[in-house]
């Protein structure tokens, strides 16, 4: 069977059983086809807790590179399917860059998943520079305070906080247009930022 045909049939997440079923073939032959696809760079393998192997088969795997979504999924209990392709080659994006990217997507689930990054973020100076460049310093501050309520996070530096807190002339802004919280009014008031989450939305973190 040609690689292109195999790839078309098997694209997605598979186990050895599903490969056997899809190709209507024996287990030995299925292992051989997976071996061929892996050799050409199309397969990423993960082991589940019961030691079973799960194969992520995709053309994108051949391109290598990393994506912001892979980084978020690595650290977050909230897993996200990749809504768009954004692959990065030749460098590994920092967690600070990843957080800023996540906020800028304006996607509720991506932002929710990215809250877990506050556990690992240490370079507050880089985060401030990136946030300032993208004009989301207050959004980062508000999301940090929210993350602090539901998990143990690294301490935000006073310098970040002092620089990012709203001035008198600042108006309220949304993280996601039109969405505001009913449960975290105190954070919203502090940062003059409407948070798009209520307590129930954060259940994956508790």
């Amino acid at each position: 069977m040609e690689t292109e045909v195999l790839l078309k049939k098997l694209e997605g997440v598979q186990t050895i059983d599903s490969v056997t079923n899809i190709l209507k073939t024996s287990k030995d032959k299925a292992i051989y086809y997976l071996f061929r696809l892996r050799k050409e760079g199309y397969v990423k393998t993960k082991r589940l807790s019961n030691n079973r192997r799960v194969y992520n088969i995709s053309f994108e795997n051949k391109l290598k590179g990393t994506s912001y979504f892979e980084i978020i999924n690595k650290y977050s209990p909230v897993k996200i399917a990749t809504p768009i392709t954004y692959k990065i080659y030749g460098k590994t994006p920092s967690l600070e860059e990843t957080l800023v990217y996540a906020i800028k997507t304006g996607s509720l689930r991506t932002i929710l998943a990215s809250l877990a990054l506050f556990k690992k973020i240490t370079d507050w100076s880089e985060l401030y520079q990136l946030s300032k460049k993208n004009r989301i310093e207050r959004q980062v501050g508000a999301l940090y305070d929210l993350a602090k309520k539901i998990m143990r996070v690294r301490r935000m530096t006073d310098r970040f906080k002092n620089n990012a807190l709203p001035k008198k002339n600042h108006n309220f802004e949304y993280i996601i247009s039109g969405l505001m919280s009913g449960d975290f009014k105190d954070i919203e008031e502090t940062w003059k930022i409407y948070l798009p989450f209520n307590k129930n939305d954060l259940s994956d973190y508790t």
């Binding site: 391109l63 768009i84 392709t85 954004y86 692959k87 990065i88 080659y89 030749g90 460098k91």
Partner: protein, 218 residues
């Protein structure tokens, strides 16, 4: 010919010599490689949003040894030709917004959702398959029809989107678009036996007919 791995290494090298972040749109064989439709390409077709970005990119690839050649050899006397640079058998075709008789429109830019970033400074956005067909129609070089056939044969084409984009191109001043696209698709249908709905061809030539009637009135 350049393969996927070679192309990635090349883009990384280019990113290293760029001194500013440059965004380009891949519209030809390169785009097809990123979408998994092709293994290698002869020419790397890129569209830039402005002259300045194109010039910076051109200087970067020149510093890697690429030299300019005359586009007339490939494109004849057609309008909006690219700047062409070659090294061995690899070639860059660099366009700025206009691609021969087509414009890489705002809608096309929005549809280019797949993004690949090389190093810090080179961001490559991959054109949507529908727009690759339109760009293949615009350049219409030796292997462009074969590439368009490959994309159409994947069976994911929304034909109405092509017609809508043709109308948009006409609004943007590219009057020949409906004719060029209709002719291109008709040739694919007749010479290469590609399945193209007759009603789409009728719709495109209907637009051409209307354009002709309006011109006659004037």
């Amino acid at each position: 010919m350049i393969t996927i791995d070679e192309q990635q290494k090349l883009f990384l090298n280019i990113a290293r010599v760029l001194n500013k972040t440059i965004t380009a749109y891949a519209v030809g064989g390169t785009a097809m490689m990123f979408l998994g439709i092709k293994d290698s390409t002869l020419d790397i077709d890129l569209v830039f949003e402005n002259e300045k970005d194109k010039d910076i990119f051109k200087e970067a690839i020149k510093s890697l040894g690429y030299r300019e050649i005359n586009a007339i050899k490939v494109y004849g006397a057609r309008k909006n030709q690219p700047e062409m640079l070659v090294l061995n058998d690899e070639r860059f075709d660099l366009f700025v917004v206009n691609v021969i008789d087509f414009v890489f429109s705002g809608n096309m830019q929005k549809r280019a959702e797949s993004i690949h970033q090389f190093g810090e400074n080179f961001i490559l956005k991959i054109a949507d398959p529908h727009d690759i067909i339109l760009m293949k129609c615009a350049t219409d070089r030796l292997k462009d029809k074969d590439d368009a056939r490959k994309i159409i044969n994947l069976g994911k084409i929304k034909w109405e989107l092509l017609v809508e984009e043709a109308k948009k191109q006409i609004e943007l001043g590219k009057e020949k678009t409906a004719f060029e696209l209709g002719y291109f698709l008709e040739e694919l249908k007749n010479k290469m036996k590609v399945k193209i709905p007759q009603e789409i061809l009728d719709e495109l030539f209907g637009i051409v007919k209307k354009q002709a009637e309006e011109k006659q009135k004037k």
